[in-house]
Amino acid sequence: MELIEAIILSVLAASTPLLLAATGELVAERSGVLNLGVEGMMIVGAACGFGGAWLTGSIIIGALCGMLAGVLMSLLFAAMALGLAVNQVATGLALTIFGVGLSGLIGARFVGERITPAPHLQIPFVTDIPLIGRILFGEDAFVYLSLALVAAVWWFLYRTRAGLILRACGDNHVSAHALGYPVLKIRMYAVMFGGACAGLAGAYLPLAYTPFFIPGMTAGRGWIALALTVFASWLPGRLVIGAYLFGAVTILQLHAQGAGIGIPSQFMSSLPYLATVIVLVLLSRARTGGSTAPAALGTVFVPDR
C-alpha cells in the first residue's frame, strides 16, 4: 500500500511541470502561434527560479522569478515571430538553443547549492487519512495550481468572449483581423502566458521536484509538453490525462529500474521519449479525417493596411 501511495505521489510530482508547460503552450497554439521554444523557456525558468529562491529563501519569489524569466524569453520570441514575421519553427529552435546556453550561464554559480523544497500541504487529520489523505491533501502548492490553471484556461477559452476571440485568431487570422481584432496583440498576450507557464514549469523542477539546480535539468520535458498539446487535440481537459499518463511512464520506468527486472536502465529511460513518438503516431493516425489543430497554427500573419 505504501509503495502504491509513493508511486502515485511521485507520478503527480513528475506530471506537474509537464501539465504547467503544456497548458501555457496550449493557449499560445490556440491563438495560432507554434512556440517551439518551450524547452528553452523552461530551462531559463529553472535557473532563474532556483536563483531567486536561493538568494531570498522564498519559494514564492523563486516561482515568480521563473515566471518572469519565461515571460521575457517569450517576448523575445514574440518580437521575432510576430513583430518581424520570422518563421515560427526556426524562431522557436533559436529560443531553445539560446535558452540552454543562457541557463547554463545564469545557473553556473548555483550548481551544488541546495534549498528547502516547497512545503507540502498539511491539514491535521485530513492529510493523515490512509492512502488518499496524502495524495489528495498532501501535495505541494504547484500541483494544485497546475490543476486550477487547466480549469481556468478551459473556462477562459470556452466560457468567455475573450477566449472566443483568441480561438478565432488561431483558426482564421484574416477574418479576425477583418472584424477589427488586434490579432498580433492577442497573440502576443497568448505567447506571454505560455512563457509564464513554461517558466513556472521550469522553476518547479529545482523548487519542488529536486531541491537543487543542475544544467540541462529539464531533459526534454519542454518538448514532451509540446507533444502533449497534440496528444490532447488542443483540449485542456485531455491535457490532464496526457500529462499524468506521461508522468506515470516516467515514474514506472524508474521503479522498474529500482526493482532490477534485468532490462538495462537506458532502455527504461528512453521509454518516455519512445512513448511520445508512438502516441503522436497513433493519434495523428486516428485523426486522418480532419485535423483538430487550430487552422492558422504556425502561419505568419502580417496585417495589410
Binding site: G99, G101, L105, L280, S284, S291
Partner: protein, 363 residues
C-alpha cells in the same frame, strides 16, 4: 506615429547579400555587452574568440576538424528546410551513424581485417543515419505525426543507446571501467592528411558534399522540385511534384550525411566510441544551415565561422575563464539576428502616422 511591417514588392537583393554580415555585426555588439556584464574586457575577449584561433596552425586545423561535421550535417538539413520538412533530430542521426559504424570497428578489433573496414564503417554509418531519419519521415508521411517532435525525441533515444553500448557490451576491458570502447585499429581510423596533424580525410569528404549539394540544388530537376515544394507548395502540386516523396528523400539524405559525419568523427578525431562525442553538432548545424542561407557555399563559410567560435570559446575558457556556455548563448543570439535580418529581405519597416489607425480603431 507607428512602425509597421509591410511586404516588399520583390525580394531585396541588397539585403539578401548583406544580411548575414549585419547579423554577425549585431551579434558581436551584443557579445561585447555580455562580456562587459560578465566583467571581462570585451576587446581582449573578442580577440581571443575570433582572432587568436586564426593565428596558429594547430588551431586552423582544429577549425577545419570542427567545421567538417557541421558542414556535412547542415548541407543535409538545408535540403530538408528548403523542402519545408523540419528535421531537427540530426544530433540523433549523427549518434546512430557513429554507433552503427563503430559496430564494425569493435567487431573487427584485433583481427586480421584489411582495408575494407573503414569504407564499410562509413557506408554503414550513412545507412544507419538515413534509416534513423526515415522513422520520423515515415511517421509524417504515413500518419501525419509532427516530424519536428518525433525527430527530436529520437535524439534522446540514440543518446541512451550509445550510453548503454559503451557502458555495457562494447566497453573496453582494459579501460579502467571508463565508459568507452577500446581505441580503434589503424584500419578502422580515418587517415590524417598531414603527418602528425589533426586534419583528416573527412574534411575532403565535406568539401565533396558541398559540391554535390550545389550541383543537386542548382543543376538537377530533383533540386528544383525540392525548392518549389518548400517555396510554393500549391504550384508544386499543380506541377505534379510528390511532396511526400520529397520529404522522405530529403530526410534520408540529411540522415545519411549526419550519420556519415558521426562515424567520421568517431573514427577520426575521437578514435573510439564514448558518450559526449558531439558537443551538439546536430543542433549547431541548424544555425549553420540558416546562417549559410540554406545555400551550400554559404553553409561552408558559416560552418567554418561557427567552428571558429567553438575553438575561440575553448581558448577563452582556458585563458580568460569565460564559461563555455557563452559559446551557446553566442550561437543562439546569432541565429536570432540571422532570422531577423532575413525577414527584412521579404519585408520592410514603414513609419505611418497613427491617425488612420485611430479611425480604424473606432469601429
Amino acid at each position: 506615429m507607428q512602425l509597421i511591417l509591410e511586404k516588399r514588392a520583390e525580394r531585396s537583393k541588397i539585403v539578401a547579400l548583406v544580411s548575414p554580415l549585419i547579423a554577425i555585426g549585431l551579434t558581436i555588439v551584443t557579445m561585447t555587452i555580455l562580456f562587459m556584464v560578465l566583467g571581462k574586457n570585451p576587446i581582449s575577449a573578442l580577440y581571443v574568440y575570433f582572432i587568436v584561433p586564426l593565428t596558429d596552425g594547430y588551431s586552423l586545423q582544429e577549425i577545419a576538424v570542427k567545421a567538417t561535421p557541421l558542414v556535412m550535417i547542415a548541407i543535409g538539413l538545408s535540403l530538408c528546410y528548403l523542402a519545408n520538412a523540419w528535421n531537427i533530430g540530426a544530433e540523433g542521426q549523427f549518434l546512430m551513424g557513429a554507433v552503427a559504424g563503430s559496430w564494425i570497428a569493435v567487431k573487427t578489433q584485433g583481427t586480421e581485417a584489411g582495408h575494407w573496414v573503414l569504407p564499410a564503417m562509413l557506408l554503414l554509418g550513412a545507412i544507419a543515419g538515413a534509416l534513423y531519419a526515415l522513422i520520423p519521415a515515415i511517421c509524417k508521411v504515413r500518419f501525419g505525426a509532427s516530424e519536428i517532435l518525433t525527430s527530436l525525441m529520437l535524439v534522446y533515444v540514440a543518446d541512451l543507446l550509445l550510453d548503454y553500448l559503451v557502458r555495457g557490451p562494447w566497453r573496453d576491458p582494459q579501460g579502467f571501467n571508463f565508459p568507452t570502447t577500446a581505441e580503434f585499429d589503424p584500419v578502422a581510423t580515418v587517415p590524417t592528411l598531414i603527418e602528425g596533424g589533426r586534419l583528416h580525410l573527412g574534411s575532403i569528404l565535406a568539401l565533396i558534399v558541398v559540391a554535390a549539394g550545389a550541383v543537386l540544388l542548382g543543376k538537377t530537376i530533383k533540386g528544383f522540385e525540392i525548392r518549389v515544394v518548400g517555396a510554393a507548395p500549391r504550384a508544386a502540386r499543380f506541377g505534379g511534384f510528390n511532396a511526400n516523396q520529397l520529404i522522405l528523400l530529403t530526410f534520408a539524405i540529411s540522415g545519411a550525411l549526419a550519420g556519415l559525419a558521426g562515424i567520421i568523427e568517431v573514427a577520426g578525431p575521437v578514435g573510439h566510441l564514448q558518450p559526449g562525442i558531439s558537443p551538439g553538432y546536430g543542433f549547431t548545424a541548424i544555425i549553420v544551415a540558416f546562417l549559410g542561407r540554406l545555400n551550400p557555399i554559404g553553409i561552408l563559410i558559416a560552418g567554418l565561422f561557427l567552428a571558429l567560435t567553438f575553438i575561440g570559446g575553448e581558448q577563452a575558457q582556458i585563458t580568460m575563464k569565460i564559461p563555455l556556455d557563452v559559446t551557446k548563448v553566442f550561437q543562439g543570439i546569432l541565429l536570432f539576428y540571422v532570422l531577423a535580418c532575413d525577414s527584412l529581405i521579404l519585408y520592410r519597416f514603414r513609419i505611418v502616422s497613427s491617425s488612420p489607425q485611430v479611425a480604424r480603431g473606432a469601429h
